[in-house]
């Protein structure tokens, strides 16, 4: 019959679409797993800064991380090639946490190298994605901001370990950086629950570092070179 044949053809075609989508999710899962693996390796490398001699080897540590970021870029490429135009947000949940973590690690590298806040373009370049939604596979704004908040926690820990390692200038530098970062976040009208919650933790990170600076100053250990 006519109706029946058309209908079967239609549904056979639809079944093709559904299967393709299911396969795509599978592929994404695998691609993201590889990215997460490299991310963990970068993190392992960067942990060295907390060790007694760590701060003396910053250049080497950053260099090694950047090498691994090259791998990340390739893996991101593999992932992003799979995502059809217009469908970034359809699958966003799959890679969101990985991208946040990478944004954090990139920001840490840039801070260690330049004492500056990473901007979105630089973060995107290091990770191997675009800055803007319009250009394709990008770093979502919320995810970039999450990365910055993770950076704050890491730096507050670094301030403590720097003192142990006898580096009294680093806490001042971190304190000033975190103060700026906090001011920046204050400018944002955060709606997003996850971001706002994480932002509250930032204040504690700032406070912790300020206490370290306070400890240094009452003992006369605060380097005077600071302006």
């Amino acid at each position: 019959m006519d109706v029946s044949d058309t209908l079967t053809a239609t549904f056979t075609e639809l079944q093709g679409y559904l299967q393709a989508e299911q396969q795509l999710r599978e592929d994404i899962r695998f691609a993201v797993r590889d990215i997460e693996q490299t991310t963990r390796e970068i993190q392992k490398v960067l942990q060295a800064i907390h060790q007694p001699q760590g701060l003396t080897k910053i250049a080497l540590v950053c260099e090694n991380s950047r090498k691994l970021f090259k791998d990340v870029q390739d893996q991101i490429k593999i992932l992003s090639d799979k995502i059809p135009a217009n469908q970034y947000y359809k699958y966003h949940d799959h890679w969101k946490f990985a991208i946040q973590r990478l944004a954090f690690l990139a920001a840490l590298v840039i801070f260690l190298e330049t004492e500056q806040l990473i901007d979105r373009q630089t973060a995107a370049d290091i990770i191997g994605v675009k800055v803007s939604k319009e250009d394709g596979f990008h770093v979502d704004l919320d995810d970039y901001l999450m990365g910055l908040l993770q950076l704050a926690s890491e730096l507050s820990r670094l301030a403590v370990n720097a003192v142990i390692a006898g580096d009294y200038a680093r806490p001042l530098q971190i304190s000033s950086f975190l103060g700026e970062l906090e001011s920046g976040f204050r400018l944002l009208n955060l709606k997003n629950d996850a971001l706002r919650k994480r932002f509250d933790a930032l204040k504690y990170d700032v406070k912790k570092v300020e206490e370290v600076v306070y400890d240094l100053s009452i003992r006369g250990l605060k380097p005077s070179t600071e302006t």
Binding site: K44, V45, Q47, V61, N64
Partner: protein
């Protein structure tokens, strides 16, 4: 990979040495788990497809397509056994199978559902655990050219859980049969489900997973009973002279007595 780590990890540390060993062990276990999950997922998909295929069967009618459907299903089931389950048995060789039960259980249950559905359509009977087990013993030529027997163990609990799912498919079969004007199957299935329901009920709360499925089982039974009921009251209205006409597919006239 190793080179990268060397940058930061003190390889002389006793702790690091110990953990290097764990790394391999954990990875091996995780990888095996992943592979088993993958096989299990494939088994699930194949089994679901087999069940879908079997639902095209019209039990009780002499449709010529029926034999073909059963043969196709049998082929699919053989394929699951000889490819998927053989791979699974190889992965589990020498392992405590329960260590990976969470990985293999979904596939195994879906397979039991599929094969028992097939068996029911073919023989009108419940397949036994023994019969299921029999198909999952493989003979394999080892490296030493000696034949080795690999057995993939089917725990009775998985068998029960698979049967619980079977009842859902039997309910669907009933609904389809009513639609197709098949009058015998619904009553047969109704009796079958009543026995299964009573049996599962008499097990009590011994099995958590089973408990979870009891609600669905009860619903399935009620749906089948309602379907039989509908058949019955509707059947009662058939004018006598039309009877043969309407139920020509069913050679059974045991329902005639209900006609007023």
């Amino acid at each position: 990979n190793d080179n990268k780590n060397k940058v930061v990890v003190d390889e002389n540390s006793a702790i690091i040495k110990i953990f290097r060993g764990f790394q391999g062990e954990l990875d091996a276990k995780h990888d095996k788990h992943e592979r088993l999950v993958k096989i299990s997922r494939d088994v699930t998909i194949d089994s679901k497809r087999t069940i879908f295929l079997l639902h095209r069967h019209r039990d009780g009618s002499d449709r010529e397509g029926n034999d073909e459907i059963l043969n196709d299903a049998k082929d699919k089931i053989k394929e699951i056994q000889n490819i998927r389950f053989l791979a699974m048995a190889e992965e589990l060789e020498g392992e405590d199978p329960y260590q990976f039960m969470r990985a293999i259980s979904p596939g195994m249950q879906e397979y039991i559902e599929a094969i028992s559905f097939y068996y029911y359509l073919k023989h009108g009977q419940l397949i036994s655990l023994n019969e299921i087990q029999k198909d999952l013993v493989f003979s394999k030529t080892g490296e030493d050219e000696q034949n080795k027997i690999l057995t993939l163990n089917v725990p009775p609990i998985e068998y029960l859980l698979g049967l619980a799912d079977l009842t859902g498919e039997l309910m669907r079969l009933t609904i389809n049969s009513v639609g197709a004007g098949n009058l015998e199957t619904p009553y047969k299935i109704c009796e079958f489900l009543q026995i299964v329901y009573d049996a599962f009920n008499s097990y009590g709360n011994t099995l958590k997973d089973l408990n979870r499925k009891m609600g669905t089982l009860r619903q399935s039974l009620r749906k089948v009973e309602n379907a039989c009921y509908t058949l019955h009251v509707r059947g009662s209205e058939i004018p006598k002279h039309m009877f043969a006409d309407v139920f020509m597919t069913s050679g059974d006239d045991k329902y005639a007595e209900d006609v007023e």
